[in-house]
Symmetry: C2
Subunit: 394 residues, 2 copies
């Protein structure tokens, strides 16, 4: 069997506080302090912000999507540009998702076989095949530091037998990805599936651990299930993962989910939520979300969040952002995105500091006491919106 | 008669080179080196860029529009925010246009009387009256350093008698603006009209000079007339303006027009062209315009303009911008706007240096020899687009 060890890639567990972990993750493009929230740059750009904005926000890792970049501009082109780092000019670590989640969310436009997935492009309807081997080749061309194995993410809700079959296919594909993986400067993560069933989650985690990946992703959560159901499935997973490898919870970015994920021992998170919400005017503050389009902010001359160090909060008022939204001015998307990313990055930085001090539980409780998450109805509407936009992001 | 002298506002003519002038213009928010190209921030934001982007580009003055800001968010609100400088956080000088051009371009939705102009908002159809006195009050609330008198800009083409009547109304309104103008930290500019007729232009310039404004704007040009016709009307105007006051040519920003305007003795320019073109993918380079959406740029890994010091050119490739345009990514509007502004600001900075060295004519000729302006057809299409967008900007 091929050697899957990866050069220039080393996770070090610095300390634990309960199940919460603080660590460092060395990559060819720098050391990441974990836990970490990673902004999503689906199409080789974090929407509406520049790489220097991201640097100023202390963003450490940026995500990109194999599915989108394979279709446009094409992985060959990005390879010719010198890889994603050169193409998008993000000098820190990059992680590419494998496209598994994206092709499955195409629903009627894809067909799954044991070999791989045939799908029709959401851009022009053209037909394509993703296999574990082709996805490894594409991720190689993109050149990220951390690459995901090709997985099958079952929908929610789904019958347990369906979820088991998808999990087993994911395991077989993980092995094929491992065999096809060649670049020692890219770390390949296996993806744990198993839906909401703790027994399937344990089985999936143990199976992948047997394949000895340099890191493990946790897929298929936060897809519509209740929060406590998600938390049980998550905890069943992390309990089976080795302490010496990083754990990455995919597509999760609501503040309460981040803190609960960290409490369960997760090290890495990504989500389109802060950037997508920003573009609709939903801004994160310690008490919840405020919708800057509301008339109440017309003459509110305070910053979005008092004490926030981001460019938006140190420079502009709520009244100005409200005006820009009403006037449909492009600048507002940049400014609101900067703030929402700042909020989540600081939340997770604060969690790391608390873990190092051994006070994470107080940190989490103090935050959750103040923060009023959107209710179930708002969350459902948000999921609806995610489907409609067809941006097929995790 | 009221004293129209303005504190903290002083134009100094440093040197001339033919009719071209290099000068300095002291304002309450800093000294402007002229000639100068001023980016347009119609709705209290230069579209898609931040104030710190503008600062990095060496933008010296930013424009805003009384018409737009009066309607949304309202001048009272901006006054409560501490004025435009505080509201939009641009710390350099600001110039507000009076809304004259905007209300006249509303065509069927406005009615002109000697008292002022009744018009219907392009936003919600509500009815409003602009008079010279009301506009002065609104510009006072906005708090710009340089404010324009309320004028009537005749359409092109128009009968000479119509243009004369509009000019005479503009003169009467200029006098009323002068009488209503109170703030000594705001410099009120009169606006020369007279269409394409050199005799009317001379008459208008001399009339306004008689009213002794601290600066003179030249309105009603570049509204569809041929380039040589515009140049004759412009030269007739500047010949009648005093050497010791700044001259501002309104709404002009094509590279060739800037250099020809400077050759005719103009000190200040503004135009939405670089920012609007940027958002359609038309990028300014020394040889003309390139449309970054063209397939030819798909794998062009050069910067937009070799040697350009802007963030876009020092960081990204044409291939990346092409990808962002195809993928409809918001970031591209920021990046292309930064480059187009950099191009025009540097063009005019270079003109100033050439004037100081006494080599402006060579500078102008060398540029025009290389630069291929879009042909008449493309200009007509651009005008068409301007009308359709109803952004009623100069």
């Amino acid at each position: 069997m091929r050697n899957t060890r990866t050069e220039n890639f080393q996770y070090e567990l610095v300390t634990t506080d309960g199940d919460a972990r603080a660590g460092t993750l060395a990559t060819p493009h720098g050391v990441v302090r974990t836990p970490v929230f990673m902004p999503v740059g689906t199409q080789a750009t974090v929407k509406a912000v520049t790489p220097r904005d991201l640097q100023e926000l202390n963003a450490q890792v940026v995500l990109a999507n194999t599915y989108h970049l394979y279709l446009r501009p094409g992985a060959e082109l990005i390879e010719r540009a010198g890889g994603l780092h050169d193409f998008m000019q993000w000098r820190g670590p990059i992680l590419t998702d494998s496209g598994g989640f994206q092709v499955f969310s195409l629903a009627a436009r894809r067909k799954i076989t044991d070999d791989g997935v045939w799908f029709r492009s959401h851009i022009d309807g053209s037909e394509h095949l993703f296999t574990p081997e082709s996805v490894m080749r594409t991720e190689e061309q993109l050149g990220a530091d951390i690459v995901m194995a090709f997985d099958e993410c079952a929908p929610y809700p789904a019958e347990k037998e369906y979820v088991r079959a998808a999990m087993e296919r994911t395991h077989a594909w993980a092995e094929r990805c491992r065999a096809a993986h060649r670049h020692t400067d890219q770390a390949l993560f296996g993806i744990v599936q198993g839906g909401v069933w703790p027994d399937l989650r344990r089985e999936s985690a143990l199976h992948l651990v047997g394949l000895d990946f340099p890191g493990y992703a946790i897929g298929g959560l936060s897809v519509g299930e209740e929060k406590d159901v998600m938390q049980l499935a998550l905890e069943a997973t992390t309990a089976c993962l080795p302490a010496g490898k990083p754990r990455y919870m995919m597509g999760v970015g609501a503040p309460e989910d981040l803190l609960n994920g960290i409490a369960a021992g997760v090290d890495m998170f990504d989500c389109v939520l802060p950037t997508r919400n920003a573009r609709t005017g939903a801004l994160l503050v310690p008490t919840g979300r405020l919708n800057i389009r509301n008339a109440a902010f017309r003459d509110d001359f305070r910053p979005v969040e008092e004490g926030c160090p981001c460019y938006t909060c140190t420079t502009f008022t709520r009244a100005y952002l409200h005006h820009l939204f009403r006037a449909e001015e492009l600048l507002v998307y940049t400014l609101t995105t900067i703030h929402n990313l700042s909020f989540l990055i600081r939340l997770v930085e604060g969690a790391r500091e608390a873990i190092l001090r051994g006070t994470f539980d107080e940190y989490r409780k103090a935050f959750l006491e103040r923060y009023r998450a959107p209710d179930a109805e708002a969350r459902a509407a948000n999921r609806e919106a995610r489907h409609r936009t067809m941006s097929v992001e995790r």
